[in-house]
Symmetry: C2
Subunit: 347 residues, 2 copies
């Protein structure tokens, strides 16, 4: 398995891109020396998107946190408020906690930020909470001087209780890889907006809470049927698969033809030189599913309004643990990970 490069003397955009450089930063600086949580919980050392704390017999408290720095703050299909709530609700759902108990939301504003923009963002936060069946219970407000912060940054933290925890390290050879819908919609919509291509295309972010869909998939899979889950946000499906493969010590082979892709995403991706497999999604999940329940889970996904384009796109193998291989139909190549400045402030 590839060793992570040491973090250099300075933080760079790459450390925020969701790939190997970010994992190196977390391992070498943030998680270093932090103990794992007591009595069987899962903490920062496990490098999942959230933590799991035991709270009684077969009951777990899941907690996850995200800061949101997206630019522009309003974009086709959503805004920073919807993104924040969805990102946190989906992170909880990825750990098997599909009923969020509560969210916190901390706001940092630049002096001079428009009141009506702030109201629009908070209306969106409330509406998205409604869709996900949760609410913001506490917050915090800071203001930085003009020029010290570009506009607005939100942090959302979510908590939930669950009795069916799912991690991101449970893949075994033979497990099928399922994606719940089209790939790269959010990332390409943002990049198209920044490049002023948005009006010419029908590109739209997929941002939204998918805890209801995930609940249906877990129900269909039955206990242990979903081996691992991850939401392919920054770094896209590729980074999600790299992380799942590395932690599970399996290889993953993806059938490129099977990856669901909107025509406009493919077109804008080619125009901008961005591989949709490396572009962010904000309303999708990648699942590793045991082979005997894969068809049932796929059927359940397609029966749900948010999973109509779901597809099985790959399989886990013994060979090349940690690697993600793309079968293009003409041959096989290693799928790379997002690096550097590819998509700054995408979420």
């Amino acid at each position: 398995m590839r060793a992570l490069r040491p973090v250099g003397d300075r933080i760079t955009m790459e450390h925020g891109a969701g790939g190997g450089a970010m994992r190196a930063l977390i391992e070498q600086i943030f998680a270093d020396g932090l103990g794992d949580v007591a009595s069987g919980g899962i903490g920062l050392a496990a490098m999942d998107d959230g933590a799991v704390l035991p709270v009684g017999d077969d009951r777990w408290l899941v907690i996850t946190t995200d800061s949101h720095v997206i630019q522009p703050i309003f974009f086709p299909g959503g805004d920073i408020g919807r993104l924040s709530v969805s990102g946190t609700v989906n992170d909880l759902a990825m750990m098997g906690a599909t009923e969020p108990l509560a969210l916190t939301c901390a706001t940092i504003l630049e002096d001079g930020f428009r009141r009506d923009d702030l109201e629009r963002i908070w209306r969106s936060i409330r509406a998205t909470c409604g869709e996900a069946g949760t609410t913001v219970v506490t917050g915090d407000t800071k203001v930085m001087r003009h020029g010290e912060l570009d506009g607005i940054v939100l942090n959302t933290t979510g908590i939930a209780l669950t009795d069916r925890f799912v991690g991101d390290a449970g893949l075994r050879p033979g497990d099928r890889i399922l994606v719940t819908g089209t790939v790269g919609d959010h990332g390409l919509a943002i990049m198209a907006t920044r490049n002023e291509l948005a009006l010419e295309t029908a590109l739209c972010s997929d941002v939204g809470p998918i805890n209801g869909l995930v609940r249906a998939l877990l129900d269909a899979a039955g206990p242990g049927g979903v081996a691992a889950m991850k939401d392919p946000t920054r770094g896209g499906v590729s980074s999600a698969l790299h992380e799942m493969a590395a932690k599970s010590k399996v290889g993953v082979v993806i059938d490129e033809q099977a990856v669901p892709l909107r025509d406009e995403v493919r077109a804008v991706g080619e125009l901008l030189g961005i591989d949709p497999l490396l572009a962010a999604n904000e309303g999708k999940a990648v699942l590793g599913v045991r082979p005997d329940v894969a068809d049932a889970v796929l059927a359940a996904a397609r029966a749900h309004p948010l999973g109509r384009d779901a597809a099985i796109i790959g399989v886990c193998v013994t060979e090349r643990p940690g690697a993600v291989v793309l079968d293009t139909g003409f041959g096989r190549r290693l799928l790379g990970e997002a690096t550097g400045e590819l998509l700054p402030r995408i979420c």
Copy 2:
């Protein structure tokens, strides 16, 4: 009681200063239309520094969140890491939850931030967690381009379980106001540093976790003995008292001579024109205590290493509900609240 001014068309520094403008922002935009939490919990609508969710018989899950934008990030007595952990641990303690279960820590960095500074901050985070008896269990990392963010911003969210919840709205006439130590140390230390007075003075921030001290005070007070608690951070003791008085619908009279104050804080406060009662503290608590247990709580505070300078500084009265009156020894005047640009990025 004073009505809050409407938020104008633009956010200003005042909305981050911890006083009435910030409460107006929270009431008029953030909490507007958000329901309270289910089944007897306390959410954003209660405007406390955290939320309380019922989790079983007489057991509460407390959650609180804070973003930290302090500048400079290293200062006499602490740094942004120690501040983040202490701020969150202390917010939990103020609600009666003195055993933090876990913290999250989300980091936003400016491209080019120094690795060794980041390591120093995280060493401080770990050490402060150790003092408070907790750990960081999950996080998040974002990087913004050079010039989009001034250095580093941290968000910490904390959760804890408690069976003795304390709010900030329980004051009754006759209750005594107790402060656990000297006032204004953090705010004046930061302002002295910014004004390059730090080397000439012994000023030092009081930043640190005080959950152990608070536990001792709650034990000494017995059930219901502590009527309300608040940590006097942004806006200082004055804003904490204004908020407690307004929510409890009592007046508060403070005996200025009784307020514990370091000589150097007094001196630098006079030099810079900053009232220490309006300056931030990061290792202190303001308590409203029932009169029959006030002496016992004061004795318990003074017996604790972090409470040696504790004092009873005032009393709650029926007159002028929501007002904070300062008895100077020569006469009485209304104590103002922090406004505007007084202390930007103080925490």
